[in-house]
Symmetry: D2
Subunit: 205 residues, 4 copies
């Protein structure tokens, strides 16, 4: 009997967009029979900063007890990892980077090799660094020896969602409203990540 | 009976370095039982330019009849593709880019999805754009829907070869002499590309 | 008496989008008193390929005698350079790269140092590699020792045009229609390139 | 009377390499008559982590009272900024990214436009992400509307230091020993940053 593929969905979200992307991915992955862990990258901002932004505070309160904090052990556990991250000045936020940086020990032991990874992002402008953020994240993944399964144009749904081949990305306005309908693209990306994860898991024994 | 994995090794070389890397990869891949096609990206430079550089001319003459020119059909044929390319101003040379650009038709038909790819490079300075060139090439691969299997630090041999996780890279001096011993890293990368290519080929049926 | 700043506008265009961006930039630059040279990167595609695409053929015919081919000498002549380039698989097209590669001689003589550069792009999807293409081009510029003046968010017009801080970018549909109104952003970028070019020219004496 | 150009040197260093680069830069900049502020990006790691690494602890203790913590106000103060940062998995460390992320307020007010920036880096392998880290940092700078003055090959000293056109970079071994002699390249980069900073400051009035 083949084991189910293990998918970690690791996101960082201040006001909820990337949480929503992550939840759609979780649903699609579970429908496909994957064992899924949805975890959030630990917050670094001081409570004063969070409290100045009502949307941030509301999302922080809503998820802090419900969603477990990402541990580096989750990376070791997973066969495949799907990241969802906002863009901050054309790169992942410090919160996500700090989580990556903490994986130095696992990396040194070679325990991150052959993880299948894929990533999604959001920004406040259409060309606000979504591509760059995904590419920066994949750079880190290459250091880990991961196998990168960006969506490319592997399904027509990518075109409908804005056509980002590096990963599904969405533009959000000042009120946090998504400007494109990316749900199907997210679901496709989650299924693709699992599919490639399964091929690698079964092959690499 | 399982089919052998098909590996295309596509290189561009003016004075021979990337040809040498490609040949080491070919040897390692054949030892592993892959079906290998070694092909060179078509030359774009006019003969006058080539003739002004004796090393370029010598290499051009030595390979023009021996090594077949890369066709876009080779990309369709392959399960896995290993590229070897010099860096020109932090990016692939026009010759390699022209070859990629010609694949627009295959791309539009979705025939480049799920190719497993990896890449190697060379430059004249230690930090002369090797990393950037590999990353640019992988960006194009993401457009194709390829699955990227950079070496990362999946084997200790990477450290010995300069520690480039994006792909084996070598520095060459003005006389074309390699400044690091990268042969084992090249062989490892070829084997890794085949391994991941096999997992994907077997899984994706 | 201060000399006028010399701006080279170098574009590649198959069906006319980047030509249009370049023309807007030319107009804005001349209004500001710059000495402008608008030149097109030489075509590499064979006539058979061009003839299969009516829009490409029409644009090729319309500009081949009217707009001079870019020479590497234009790079030496210029104080500032504004590029306009389509994206091909997340990178500049081979035509543009070939033009860059031909500048090896000027580079070796140090004659490209301190050129002020900026770039614009276009693609067929909203997130179709516009960011990556601009970043690849700037990587090459760093090899040249250029001073990079991307627009950033130096004017509110950038937000209106899609918010690409790396350079104005536009999405074109299958018929070549621009999907965003970027004219003002192009004009702003041209003026900014000239302004920074003037500061550097006057300072660097 | 012309004002002196203001240079902020912002570094992050765990075991001292980037501090050393920053100090060389400071000396060179002061020799040229710039007004220099040398500041360190705030530490994010918990004391337990720092204490497990004697070299980290020693450097932390040695600088925590001596070097002021970087404030976002330092970015507003500066005409030019020189960064020195280690590479962590092909990107800036979370500490540096956190510092950038805190500049959101200044960015929104447009107060980061036209800063002249340049950057240096270090890594533990020759090709361990130095190029990528510098490029990631410059991506953020483009969001700020900064003017990027990477060294390129603007002086022969770059070749001697490993030939990194994006910024001086150095490889350090497990004991923190620099593997290349980059002092002159650092000094050149500091002087170049000041020179371009001066041109922009004087021009942009």
């Amino acid at each position: 009997i083949r084991e189910r593929v293990k998918l970690a969905i690791v996101y960082y979200s201040s006001t909820g967009t990337n949480y929503k992307l992550a939840k759609w991915a979780e649903e699609a992955a579970e429908e496909k029979g994957a064992e899924v862990k949805l975890v959030r990258a630990p917050e670094l901002a001081p409570m004063e900063a969070i409290e100045q932004n009502p949307a941030w505070k509301a999302h922080y309160e809503a998820t802090k007890d419900e969603v477990p904090e990402a541990q580096v052990a989750d990376l070791e556990w997973a066969d495949a990892i799907l990241f969802s991250t906002p863009t901050r000045f054309g790169n992942v936020p410090a919160q996500m980077k700090q989580y990556f940086d903490m994986a130095g020990g696992l990396w040194a032991e070679g325990k991150l090799v052959n993880k299948v990874v894929s990533a999604m992002s959001s920004a406040q402008n259409s060309h606000g660094g979504q591509e760059q953020t995904l590419k920066s994240l994949y750079t880190t993944m290459m250091h880990w020896g991961a196998i990168i399964a960006a969506p490319g144009y592997s399904d027509a749904v990518t075109f409908a969602a804005g056509g980002n081949p590096y990963g599904t990305s969405v533009t959000v306005d000042g009120e946090g409203n998504m400007q494109e309908d990316v749900e199907e693209a997210v679901r496709h990306q989650a299924r693709r990540t699992i599919a490639v994860g399964t091929w690698v898991k079964n092959g690499n024994k």
